[in-house]
Amino acid sequence: MEEELVNQCVRLWEEPLSHMARIREQGGRPVAYFCSYAPEEILHAAGLTPVRLLGSMRTITHADAHLQAYCCSVARTDLDMALAGELSFLEGAVFVQTCDTMMRLSDIWRRNTGFPFHGDLVLPVRMGEEISLPFMVREVGRFRRQVEEYLGSRLEDEALWESIRVYNRNRALAEEVYRLRSENPGLVDGLSAAAVLTAGFWMRKEEHNALLERFLEAAREGVPEGEPAAVQLLVTGSVCTTPDLYRLLRELGADVVDDDLCSGHRYFDCPVEDEGSPEEALAARLWRRVNCPSKHQSLEDRATRLVTQVKESGAEGVIFYLQSFCEPHLFDVPYLKRKLQEEAGVPSLVLETELQSFSRGQLRTRLQAFIETIAGV
């Protein structure tokens, strides 16, 4: 049962578009988002289904007329799919101000696609400091009104609280999956944990909660299948577009024991607390959750967190899985590498990828060499 469920999720991860289209066919209203800072609860409460675009492995045909080649491939391939008409099932998209690329992509997307809804959430860079919280609250409120205007009706607070509960439940379940994995790597492996979490980007969260519950139940009853992988690693970076990295690692006798990815651990960090109005509560979560490198909390926050994660999970090495041209992530690499070596005593490997020229072979060679060093072969 558990294995079948994981396989389904992996297939979904490889082919999310057809699934998103099915949501539409079944009467759902998919709205795309890109970034883990998107206020999904507001969309969800409005009866829309937030679906995530993570880029795709493809040759670019349309986006080159709008984005230079020195732009990250997540932005380029997502725009390419939209311009090629492959996302016609979408009702719209929501952009959040994180990096310079996303900031400009929002305008480019709005001007060149014809989706009925276009949402923007502007974020401060100073997170977790008292001075920026009032701005966040009002901006989340502005976003809520933008959605209300689009719907032509008010979003009731009660509906928002209900969506917040659904999302909090989802965060707690995801946390549980991750805990099970790091405590018992022989029971839940990296690919399974990542796949069951990732699948949730393309369904209503109620449905995903049920899926995670089924998975957890089955996993807890399972018996470890043989020994856990020889080398345990932590992956840090932006988004994981395909399950390939996890599969490759498995082939090479390694596994992912924890991650610090926008599409992984950073996505579900920190619940929405019951404080004030729904927009105050939502804003406060975005503002206090684990920092993305495009934001600022303190000079040390990312390194401290990463080092702690490495120590707690027992990872023996760290893989930086990054997009070429991604400034926020690439800037942090030298500092984080140094800290990992000095404070956690683990080596790290930087993998830069571009989805339009993704090379599994190259990835494999580099991973193999890295794993061999750690295993001391």
Partner: protein, 410 residues
């Protein structure tokens, strides 16, 4: 005969030369010397981003130092690539902003034409030009072990929202309190007003200077403006800068009156978009002169002409002005500014520098180019380069494309 013609040409060149450039060199030299001399003394030094609010620093007698201005200098001196390579050796990707890479390289090695910048006592980073400066200044803050103040200016889509304005104003107050802590001095409102008035005076002089280029022939090219803008970027808010720009404005007006153009002949006029290609200024200047084409205006130096600053409410209006700079607004508003520059300066087309390591300025240019042509009927040329990393530049190809473009104008 020949000697005569040479003499005439020499006289003509002398007549066309902008005389105030010498005064600017002196001003900047003095500024850099003073800044370097202040290192290790009681005087405080702050590194600040080019779009950052500098007036409060001047008011607190802090010496502002601009890594971007220094980066331009390193680029023009063909020294930035080696500095970038130092940063790359430290693990910084070669796709990151070349100002940032060069600056990190220079901080580590003290390299560059002036032996590096004086060590900062603290840092001020304003993200109104890009998100890159946040990451860059975080690294500087770790490297030097000094405090970092982040003046956070959320992106503006459409009109400035109230909550963005409030956030900007509150931070102005907080910034002042930060400076009180850093300098141990109390905020002097009178002094601040004086600095603000001078800063606005310099900005408005600068706007008038740039406007002189509506004349035909244009008294300067935007390449001159790129160089002559150094004082407005670094020292606005001081009397010296006001004096300097008054002199420059007089010179420009006189040139217009006497019909002295910067080029021996001006047949075409173009608008420039993006940061200059610092290491190629000389070659490109020569090429455009040969093509009798004047780059009469640009979106970069015009970023320093913000309107609507109000001496009655200096903190507030300053906060607004810093939030709504050219790079912090949506494409439609950027397009409006491009079109209005084109109309005002009566150009025949636009050259866009697609700048490999500056994403906020470059992403969106393809759409802006189409929009520009749609709205003005004028052609656009997009050339590929990088502001200070010359390794990405293909001179023959770029110059060939510029020639073709200019020859096809009309």
């Amino acid at each position: 005969m020949n000697g005569n013609r040479e003499r005439q040409e020499g006289d003509d060149r002398e007549r066309r030369r902008i005389k105030s450039t010498a005064a600017m060199r002196d001003l900047m030299l003095k500024y850099y010397m003073e800044a370097k001399a202040a290192e290790g003394t009681e005087k405080k030094i702050a590194w600040i981003t080019s779009g950052g609010p500098v007036e409060p620093l001047i008011c607190f007698d802090v010496i502002p130092v601009y890594p971007e201005n220094h980066g331009a200098m390193c680029g023009a001196a063909h020294m930035n690539v080696e500095l970038c390579e130092v940063a790359e050796g430290m693990g910084f990707s070669r796709d990151l902003c070349s100002y940032a890479r060069g600056d990190i390289g220079s901080a580590v090695t003290k390299g560059g034409p002036i032996g590096g910048l004086p060590r900062p006592d603290f840092l001020v980073c304003c993200n109104n030009i890009c998100n890159t400066v946040l990451k860059w200044y975080e690294e500087l803050s770790r490297f030097f072990g000094v405090p970092l103040y982040i003046y956070d200016t959320p992106f503006v889509r459409g009109p400035l929202p109230d909550h963005t304005r409030d956030f900007a104003v509150r931070q102005m107050e907080e910034y002042i309190a930060f400076l009180e802590r850093m300098t141990g001095k109390e905020f002097d409102e009178h002094r601040f007003l004086d600095v603000a008035v001078k800063s606005f005076a310099a900005i408005s002089l600068w706007a008038q200077i740039l406007s002189c280029n509506t004349a035909r022939p244009a008294p300067m090219t935007c390449f001159d403006a790129f160089i002559l803008m150094a004082p407005i970027v670094t020292l606005r808010g001081t009397q010296e800068v006001v004096d300097f720009y008054e002199g420059l404005l007089r010179e420009m007006r006189q040139r217009v009156e006497e019909g002295i153009g910067i080029l021996p002949a001006e047949r075409r006029r173009l608008l420039w978009d993006n940061i200059p290609i610092w290491y190629e200024m000389r070659n490109l200047g020569r090429l455009f002169m040969e093509l009798e084409t004047c780059l009469v205006a640009d979106t970069y130096t015009n970023a320093w002409t913000f309107e609507g600053v109000d001496p009655e409410r200096p903190l507030q209006s300053m906060a607004e002005a810093y939030t709504e700079v050219y790079l912090n607004i949506n494409l439609e508003r950027m397009s409006d500014r491009q079109v209005s520059l084109a109309e005002k300066f009566q150009v025949d087309g636009m050259v866009m520098h697609s700048n490999r390591s500056c994403k906020p300025y470059s992403l969106g240019q393809y759409d802006l180019a189409r929009e520009f042509t749609r709205r003005t009927g004028l052609p656009v040329l997009i050339i590929e380069a990088d502001h200070t990393d010359s390794r990405w530049y293909h001179r023959t190809e770029v110059e060939g494309r510029i020639r073709d473009f200019v020859e096809n104008l009309l």
